[in-house]
Structure formats: C-alpha cells, structure tokens
Amino acid sequence: MLWIALGVAALFVVLLVVVIGLYNGLVRKRVDCDNAWSQIDVQLKRRHDLIPNLVETVKGYAGHERGTLEAVIAARNQAVTVAGSAGSPAGAPGAVAERAAAEGALSSALGRLFALSEAYPDLKANTNFAQLQEELTSTENKVGFSRQHYNDCVGRYEETRQTFPTAIIAGVFNFGPREYFTVDVAEQREAPKVSFK
C-alpha cells in the first residue's frame, strides 16, 4: 500500500516537473516574440520620425511633386495612427496585419519618393538628403530584418504551442496565438530598392 502511494507520488512529481518545463518553454518563446516585436516597433517609430524631415528637404528641391510628397505624408500619418490604436500582437487579433498593411503602404510611397529623387541631381547632391537617405534605407532594412527575426520567433512559438503535448499546457494556461508580420502585396514584399551610390 505504502509502495503504491509512493509510486503514485513519484509519478506525480515527475509529471509536475515535465509540466513546469513545458510551461516555462512556452513562456520563454512568448517573451522572445514580444521582445522581437518591440524591436520592430522601435524601427517603425524611428521611420515615422525621419519622414517629416525628409519631406521638408525634398520640398526645397522638388516642391512641385506635390502628389508624391502628400502620398508619403498621408501614408506616414496613417501608419502613426494605426501604431497608436492597434498596438502590440498581444492585443486584438488582426492588429499585426493592420499594422503591416499601413507600414507596407508607407514603404511603397517612400520607394516612389526615392525613385523620383533620381531626377533631381541637386537634391541627390544635398548632404542632408544623402544622410536622410542612408538613415531611411537602413531603417527600412532594420524593419525588414527585425520582421524576419520576429517571424522566426513566432514560428518557434506557434510550433511549440500547437504541437502535442505542449498544446495541452497552452490550452490550460491560455497561451494565445501570435500573428506573423506578413507583407502581402508583391510590390511591398520586395524590400524597397534604394540605390546606394
């Protein structure tokens, strides 16, 4: 009788240790996702901050290209609004997709602006513009790279969350899904081409 009780107790302890291990693994992967997301967030905010400056500089040389400039400003403002309302992937479902769409639109508007700048040698020669272009190019790359890392993290988290036996733990402790940061339009998938001299 005693041996059976001890055996059951031992089994229970082993089970508990396994559950704790799986639970911690899930938490760690979810934290990775959220850290990766905050990296994207930093880069997107940085991009939003750089754009007014860029628009001002371009205006001085190509003020009559109003359509392109206004498209950039509109896309930027839309992205800022979405960033303020939608927030993090821990929030409502679809938040990440909404954000990705707004940022994608901003990327293509920016791409058009840089394409247009090719036609203005004076603008290209402006050191301020060159600096802004390097900063924005780099920020664009950083958004892309941190998105890549975020999606890797989400992939690892989702794989763990949805496979047996972790799926049971995830169900019991309410580990919600994390959304991929995807860019759907073909034009946006191609990292915006900004030429380096």
Binding site: E134, S138, K142
Partner: protein, 348 residues
C-alpha cells in the same frame, strides 16, 4: 555545379540582388540536416568547457612534470611524489587564474593585440547602421564596433557572449566594400557571435597562447636546472622524465595549434551559411570574399599565429596562399574559393 568565380562577369550588381531576394528567402536553408544555430550554440558551450578542462589538465600535467624533473635533478627521487603534487597544485592555481583572465579580459586583450580602437556611431554612421541591421536579424544586442587602422582587408568578432561581443574591421576593408558586401561581412561576424564561436575562439586564442608561453618557460627552466645534485640511482628516472618533458614541451603547442585550426574551418563555412540566413543575400558576402581573396596584403601588425583563426580570411599571407590550393590539416580557414562556390550555390 556552381560556376567558378572567373566565369562570372564582375561582382554581382544590386539589381540582381534585389531580384533574388524574394524567391531566395524561401530557398535558404542555412545549416545541413536538422542542425540549427541553437545546436551550434550548445556545441560551442560544451566545447568551450571541454577546452578549459583540457587546458587545465594539460597545465596540471606540465606543472607535475616540471616539479618532478626539478625535484629529481635537485633533491633526488624521494621528493618525487610530494613535489609533483605541489607542482599540480601550483599549476592549477595558475591555470585557474589564467582561465578567469581569459574569460573576462580575453576579448579586450585580443582587441588590443590587434591594434583595434573602439569607434562611435558618429564616426561611421553607415557601418553602425549595417551592424545594427544584421544584429537585429539575429535578434542580438548591439556589439561594440572597432576599427583597425590597417590597409589589409580583414575583420573579426570576439567576446565571451553576445552581450559582451565586439566586431572589428580593418580600415582597408571598410573603404573597399560596397554596402551590400559590408553587410555580408558583418553578417558573417554576427553569425560567429550568434553561434558563440567567439567564446571558443577567444578562449582558444588566450589559453593556447598560454600553453605556448608555458612550454617556452619550461624549456628555459630545464636548461638552467641544477645538474650538480643529480644522483646515479635517479639517472633512469631523470631520463624518462626529461624525455616526457621534452615531448610535452614540443607537443603542447602543436596540439593547441591543431585544435585551433581544425575547429575553426568548419566554423567558417557555418558562419557563411549563418550570414546568408541573416541577410538572405549570398551575393553580398560572395563578392566581399572575392575582394578579400584578391588582396595580397598580409595583416602584419594586427595578427599573429595565436589570433589568425579569429579573422574572416587568414591574415597570414603565406598560409593563405598555401590553403587556397589545398585544404590542409594545418590551415585555420577553408579555401576562399570554396566558400564563394558554396555561397553561389545558394543562389540557384
């Protein structure tokens, strides 16, 4: 079959890079089999621990032999065991302190030895941006950035973990690379950081250096050891011990060097693959490697045989020429043309 570098019309342009980026991203499978960078990290942690253990063992052995040899040539075979034990103890204390120094001060020592100086974002915004990009792709903290004022083309990374990592690049390489190539090189270095190769390589550079230093010292002591007190009955033992001592003194540096070189060759291939996993652009690194291969300028002041394995291509020209022809056991880096061929194979 990948094309040889000579068949290709010049370095790859940006247009082709951008065209490749989309479809390529799905094709890139950086590591062979089911190996991931997490496995490489585990392996490097294990091997670093083994390296430290092995070095401590070797140092203890050296200490024992040294003390025993001294005891016999001095007081005779009676003092053999206690002095050998004392030698082991002393050697372990020295070895332990050296390991601590290597762990906390190794990266700084390597950077100093290479003549690298830290730079700030304002000194070179583009370089910092590029490093920031690749570290974001790896999901790692920003490493310290160092510049080596040399015209030779090279770069390396060091540190005990990603939070204490540093990347260094020669001013010659910095000036010669396009942005995409620079990104490839920095991604290669960041892959070393991510895989934790930096820890192993750092311990190797500092601890293997110690073995060489210790056996040098051993020789010096042996030569000046008192011969007057040597007794007849101890003669045989003295000879055995001397032979052992000589063998050890000769073998130690060779063993250290062999480990150092054989381990880093595979790491270079894996770091190239890891770089492509980060940038999804094999052409940037391939084109940078071609420039590095064509450079005949050895890193005279910045590198020596103890630190050669850290660099992206072998900084010692004589050895680089040798292993561009064949992949010898003694080379610390695989032939650059091999690495380029493997990178280009990823583009189809």
């Amino acid at each position: 079959m990948p094309p040889g570098h000579a068949d290709r019309p010049g370095p790859p342009g940006l247009a082709s890079d951008a065209a490749l980026r989309g479809p390529l991203a799905d094709k890139v499978r950086a590591y062979p089999g089911t190996l991931t960078y997490l496995d490489l990290i585990r392996r490097n942690k294990r091997q670093s621990a083994l390296l430290v253990l092995g070095m401590l063992l070797l140092i203890a052995l050296l200490g024992a032999v040294l003390a025993a040899a001294l005891a016999i040539s001095g007081a005779g075979p009676d003092a053999l065991v206690p002095s050998a034990l004392l030698g082991i103890l002393a050697a372990l204390v020295v070895g332990g302190l050296t390991t601590l120094w290597s762990w906390y001060g190794g990266a700084g020592a390597i950077l100093r030895m290479s003549g690298a100086r830290p730079i700030a974002p304002a000194d070179d915004p583009e370089l910092f941006n590029v490093v920031d990009e690749v570290r974001l792709a790896a999901g790692l903290p920003m490493p310290a950035v160092y510049l080596i004022d040399e015209s030779a083309l090279n770069a390396f990374a060091t540190g005990r973990d990603p939070a204490h990592a540093a990347v260094a690049i020669t001013s010659g390489l910095r000036a010669r690379l396009t942005r995409d190539e620079l990104q490839g090189v920095m991604a290669h270095e960041m892959a070393h950081v991510r895989h934790l190769d930096i820890r192993f390589a750092m311990l190797m550079a500092t601890l293997a250096g110690l073995i060489v230093f210790a056996s040098d010292a051993f020789w010096r002591i042996l030569r000046h050891a008192p011969r007057a007190g040597r007794r007849k009955e101890g003669g045989a033992i003295v000879i055995v011990l001397l032979v052992a001592a000589v063998l050890l003194a000769i073998l130690a540096p060779i063993v250290a060097r062999l480990i150092q070189m054989s381990y880093s060759r595979q790491r270079e291939f894996l770091a190239d693959a890891g770089a492509v996993e980060l940038t999804r652009n094999p052409l940037g690194l391939a084109s940078a490697l071609e420039k590095l291969a064509a450079d005949a300028d050895p890193l005279v002041n910045a590198a020596n045989r103890g630190t050669a394995h850290l660099f992206i291509v072998n900084p010692l020209r004589r050895m680089r020429e040798a292993h561009q022809r064949l992949n010898t056991m003694f080379s610390s880096h695989p032939p650059v043309q091999d690495r380029i061929a493997r990178l280009l194979a990823l583009t189809r």
